[in-house]
């Protein structure tokens, strides 16, 4: 897990850096010898495309390699996810009726975040999805 996260960070940095470079070194009129600049830009663009392609390949490989949970595990994961999301929804309903800055509003925000994380975790394991994200949020 740590290794995978590290890989993503390592990949994300050069892509961001390259994207920044591409912007900074984009075609600009009257900025040095036209031939040299154009060649550099083309090489940078090619390198960037190759990096994007490698990034996409890695993403696909990781998705295929992700072990799926057993039906028994999925049943438990799904039940716990549904409990989390149902409770978050209930808390947010209460928070909606409370003054702003209430403890219930804090619990609502936390519960919604945990619900989303639970949904993502279940999805990553290939467990059946269910749209249970509470769409309520404290309005005041």
């Amino acid at each position: 897990m740590t290794g995978r996260r590290l890989a993503w960070l390592l990949l994300a940095f050069p892509i961001t850096a390259l994207a920044g470079c591409a912007t900074a070194h984009g075609p600009r009129e009257g900025s040095g010898p036209a031939g040299a600049s154009s060649t550099d830009d083309q090489e940078a663009a090619r390198a960037y495309e190759q990096l994007l392609s490698a990034h996409a390949d890695l993403h696909r490989a990781q998705a295929q390699a992700q072990p799926q949970a057993s039906p028994a595990d999925c049943a438990r994961i799904g039940q716990l996810r549904d409990n989390i999301c149902a409770l978050a929804g209930r808390i947010c309903e209460i928070a909606d009726r409370q003054p702003s800055g209430s403890t219930a509003a804090e619990h609502c925000a936390d519960g919604k975040a945990r619900c989303k994380t639970a949904i993502d975790a279940a999805r990553t394991r290939g467990c059946p999805t269910k749209n249970v994200v509470p769409d309520r949020s404290p309005s005041r």
């Binding site: 057993s70 716990l80 409990n83 149902a86 409370q98 209430s102 975040a113």
Partner: protein, 168 residues
């Protein structure tokens, strides 16, 4: 939202059939299960008072000394949970609150027995118009579910990102 926490079969399995002597752990739990079945029948007949009465002997009686503490707590907390839920359905949230608190006083393990009691106590608070207390109880129950999810993800094969809160 959350039904019976765990079936009694799970408790029996946890005890281990080979370790359950006749008339010992297994019988106490089997007796409790029978009382729950009677409660189910009464509830099906819309007899809330009858259902509650059938559960009372479980919490009033003494559990045999050799019943493992966790099994005893599980049976009693599940029973208090059901009693509190019946109280709520009967429109007696203050009684539900008292039942839930008796159940929680037996121990605060990180399991669904405790989570269910927190949910039913939250519902009692809500019925008594104590919204903040209700939200706090629901959130405490949510946190238990979140930690159990993190634990399940850790124990199941694979390397998925853990749910927040539980995984180190």
């Amino acid at each position: 939202m959350i039904g019976r926490a765990l079936p009694f079969v799970a408790l029996l399995a946890a005890l281990g059939c080979s370790r359950a002597p006749a008339g010992g752990d297994g019988r106490w739990i089997a007796d409790a299960e029978r009382q729950h079945e009677i409660a189910d029948e009464r509830l099906a007949a819309k007899d809330l008072a009858g259902a509650r009465s059938s559960l009372l002997p479980i919490v009033r009686g003494e559990a045999p000394r050799h019943v493992p503490p966790d099994a005893r707590r599980g049976v009693l907390q599940d029973t208090y949970f059901r009693m509190a839920k019946i109280d709520l359905d009967a429109g007696e949230p203050w009684v539900a609150l008292a039942d839930a608190e008796r159940g929680l006083a037996l121990g605060r393990a990180e399991d669904l027995f405790v989570a269910n009691l927190l949910v039913v106590r939250g519902a009692a608070h809500e019925a008594l118009h104590d919204a903040e207390a209700a939200a706090a109880d629901y959130h405490a129950a949510l946190m238990i579910n979140d930690r159990l999810l993190a634990q399940t993800l850790r124990e199941s094969p694979g390397d998925a990102a853990p749910a927040r809160g539980g995984a180190p």
